[in-house]
């Protein structure tokens, strides 16, 4: 892995994805160790309205505990949170999550841009944004904002993505700190996990 950025004290990793991203996640999540020092939030575009199925799937596949997202739940290190469908997911300064039913962004609710942008203002350089497979432009603008607040941005290697459009769009318009395949993403997340 290229070592072009040192990530000190990461508080939050947000993973955004659209078409084809579930497949990538099902490879990545089971390989992650117990997470200690940060929370993981998944913002995925999905057709059906059933995040519980996805949460169930993650519970089965992963050693990281799932916390169900409701309005104003505290964001705790060591847990995975899944953005519910039909709401945008926002981050409050007091480390809680807020939901919002306002207009779709990039034809999507939840929108990855919306969550990336909201988190970037709160977590600044302690934020990592990862963008996976998809055939939509969502996520690119948000990655830029994460970067402008000093956070770290990671894009799935388009070669390894089922739908390369979304990662390609990000690479063309942002300057990602890392472009990684699934294995690389696993190693990256593991490497920023602070076990002390």
């Amino acid at each position: 892995m290229e070592e072009n950025k040192v990530i000190a004290d990461c508080k939050l990793v947000i993973i955004g994805g659209s078409a084809g991203s579930l497949h990538a996640l099902m490879q990545i999540l089971p390989e992650l160790p117990q997470i200690y020092s940060f929370a993981i939030v998944l913002v995925l575009h999905r057709k059906n309205t059933d995040e519980e199925t996805l949460e169930e799937l993650i519970r089965l596949k992963s050693t990281v505990n799932v916390n169900v997202v409701e309005d104003k739940v505290p964001l705790l290190p060591g847990f995975i949170y899944v953005a519910p469908s039909n709401y945008h997911l926002l981050f409050e300064k007091n480390d809680t999550l807020s939901l919002d039913t306002s207009e779709k962004v990039n034809y999507s609710r939840p929108s990855i841009d919306v969550s990336f942008e909201s988190a970037s203002e709160v977590y600044k350089q302690q934020l990592v944004g990862i963008l996976l497979s998809g055939s939509n432009a969502d996520g690119t603008q948000g990655l830029n904002m994460i970067k402008s607040f000093g956070g770290t941005i990671v894009v799935q290697d388009p070669e390894s993505a089922e739908m390369p459009f979304m990662p390609n769009n990000a690479i063309a318009n942002c300057n990602p700190d890392y472009v990684l395949n699934n294995q690389g993403i696993i190693e990256f997340i593991t490497s920023i996990n602070n076990q002390e």
């Binding site: 309005d71 519910p84 926002l90 409050e92 300064k93 807020s98």
Partner: protein, 269 residues
């Protein structure tokens, strides 16, 4: 983009000049909304924006309309309406008179959905639906019962998923891109402006719906509003929140009992 401190200045000024208190709104969403209108209206300097809000009353109104998120749907979350249809209305139906309050009703889609359920249960004639919102503009739309025709396909699917068996198109008249809902439904509705931040209880209800409104409030304001509902709910009445909202942080255990998996609570004490 607006800075945090500028947002606080705006909140203070709106309160000072107009008495509207956004101080307990969730900051993440509030900031997004303010940024959105700031950009939409072509401002580049915050102080220009601020003085427009201060000195132009109509612009202040526009701000309130734009900050409040009014997105809504008919039969949003069909599973929720199914529980209302099958479990709540049969209980309410035993009463001589049914009072329902939609708090934060937006453009009224939820209220018309409820009226349809009541009609199909044969209860509409003895029901009153009070529908309130802080935003005057949405109330005007709600009173008319006119919704975009292009939404009807989705709404009739929602309706069917919620257990509806009638022909949904019978409930409205389609005309030039709009769907005008039958006056019969609106006859039992009363619309008025009510601000959950500052206004008080105004009646006693058997069912209160406040869905996807609390998500815009911080914990303190959520507590105030839940307390207001508690004062406005009859014993054994029902309180319905949005699918991702909860009473958990606002009210002690034992007073309310949750139904099934849906976000509906019954006042048992």
């Amino acid at each position: 983009m607006i800075e945090d401190i500028e947002l606080e200045t705006l909140i203070n000024d709106v309160y000072e000049y107009y008495g509207f208190d956004f101080g307990s709104y969730s900051r993440a969403s509030l900031k997004r909304r303010v940024n959105r209108i700031f950009k939409l209206d072509g401002f580049t300097h915050f102080h220009d924006f601020l003085s427009k809000v201060r000195y132009d009353h109509d612009y202040y109104k526009r701000i309130v309309d734009e900050i409040t998120v009014n997105v809504t749907e008919m039969f949003r979350d069909p599973a929720f309406y199914q529980v209302v249809r099958n479990e709540i209305l049969p209980v309410l139906g035993t009463k001589p008179f049914i009072r329902i309050w939609h708090a934060g009703c937006s453009t009224g889609e939820e209220v018309y959905s409820m009226a349809i359920l009541l009609k199909e249960a044969g209860l509409l004639h003895k029901s009153l639906l009070y529908a309130t919102d802080v935003n005057e503009k949405v109330l005007e739309t709600a009173k008319k019962g006119i919704f975009p025709l292009r939404m009807m396909k989705e709404y009739s699917e929602n309706y069917r998923d919620s257990g509806g068996q009638e022909d949904f198109t019978e409930y409205y008249i389609a005309n030039y891109g709009i769907a005008k809902f039958n006056d019969e439904l609106a006859q039992r509705m009363v619309f008025s402006q009510h601000n959950l931040v500052s206004d008080n209880s105004f009646n006693e209800f058997d069912l209160i719906l406040c869905r996807n409104v609390l998500i815009y409030f911080d914990n303190d304001l959520q507590k105030r509003v839940i307390n207001l509902f508690d004062q406005s709910l009859s014993l054994l009445g029902f309180l319905a929140l949005g699918t991702k909202e909860t009473l958990k942080y606002s009210i002690g255990p034992g007073k309310y009992k949750q139904l099934d998996k849906e976000k509906i609570w019954r006042k048992i004490k």
